[in-house]
């Protein structure tokens, strides 16, 4: 953004700066390629034995996409460190909650299936 402001200063009154959109389209292509890769995996890696591996790939790809959307489009990567941590730490706790309750869910299911046998 600092480059943008420097440009604005050298402008004549009423003149509009040239668009600077290279980074936006770069991020767009990254998102498209990751999504395409996800579909490729969804249709080629179908064997039940690879289920866990396949799902971990999906989760890693999702977090990667989230990184690009939040970091570049929402500009968080270029904010001050304290703001970045303010957003990331509570979100990290949520990840723990998901892992805990998924484990709990498997356990509840197992208990219920043995309840009457």
């Amino acid at each position: 953004m600092s480059a943008n402001h420097a440009e604005e200063l050298s402008l004549h009154p009423g003149e509009i700066a040239k668009p600077n959109t290279g980074w936006i389209w770069k991020t767009f292509w990254v998102l498209v390629i990751i999504t395409a890769f996800e579909f490729l995996i969804a249709f080629t890696m179908t064997s039940p034995g690879l289920r866990t591996f396949r799902n971990s790939i999906f989760i890693v790809m999702t977090i990667l996409k989230a990184f690009f959307i939040v970091g570049e489009f929402m500009h968080l990567k270029h904010e001050v460190k304290s703001l970045i941590w303010t957003i990331l730490i509570p979100t990290a706790l949520l990840v723990w909650l998901v892992v805990a309750l998924v484990t709990e869910g498997s356990y509840v299911g197992e208990v219920l299936s043995h309840m009457f046998s």
Partner: protein, 258 residues
Amino acid sequence: MAQSTTLQPTAATTDFADAPRSGTWDGGNEPFRASYGKLMMWFFLLSDTFTFGAFLTAYGLIRHKHGVYTGPAKDFFFSTAHWPVPEKVFNAFPGFHGVDLPLAFVALMTMILIFSSVTMVLAVEAGHRLDKADVQKWLLWTILFGSMFLSSQAWEWSHFIGGHEEPTIMADGTRFFGANLAMNQYGPPLFGDLFFFITGFHGTHVFSGVILLIWCFIATTNGTFEKRGHYEMIEKIGLYWHFVDLVWVFVFTFFYLV
């Protein structure tokens, strides 16, 4: 220690309140170097993250509580005994009646939303350059893609509620098509409920986003932001819009892929 307790006359005590105090904790600072409005939008989005996080956490728990279909993929059948495979539920595309196109429509919806995010960030960029015409152009594109996404979701919902060609035979021998909140032909009742609540809640967010964008477009056209001298409102609404795209990325993975 002795030195620190002796009070030095400061500028504030000699000139009274003429010179404002400017220490880190004396107020008037922006520790986050973000304006009040943008910071509050971030905190709102954090709270919204918890709402969607609660939905996806509940989805994880309920899904793992139910049985998994373990047979070969080609023999898969809908049953309340196991969680449905998403490829078998979401395999329809408008205009291709009866053709098995797994996840094709949801891929299109994902692309539409990514596109809308790009046009949104282009509008924000145009706002930084105070380029009113460009802001208007990109806002219109974003509104268009947002509306396209909402229409796609409306179609997806009506197809989900209407049901597949083949009915599911219930335990008492009756045939059942489609879905409602009490039961559905695809799997356990909670599968339908979670579909309605998660995609519905996300769709409501997209809808509010489109309304906010339309308001932004009107305000831009009227020159409200031009008079203000900055287009920060576009940035704030942009943050919200990207968040909606972000939520879809997670819904897409956990509801449609995994």
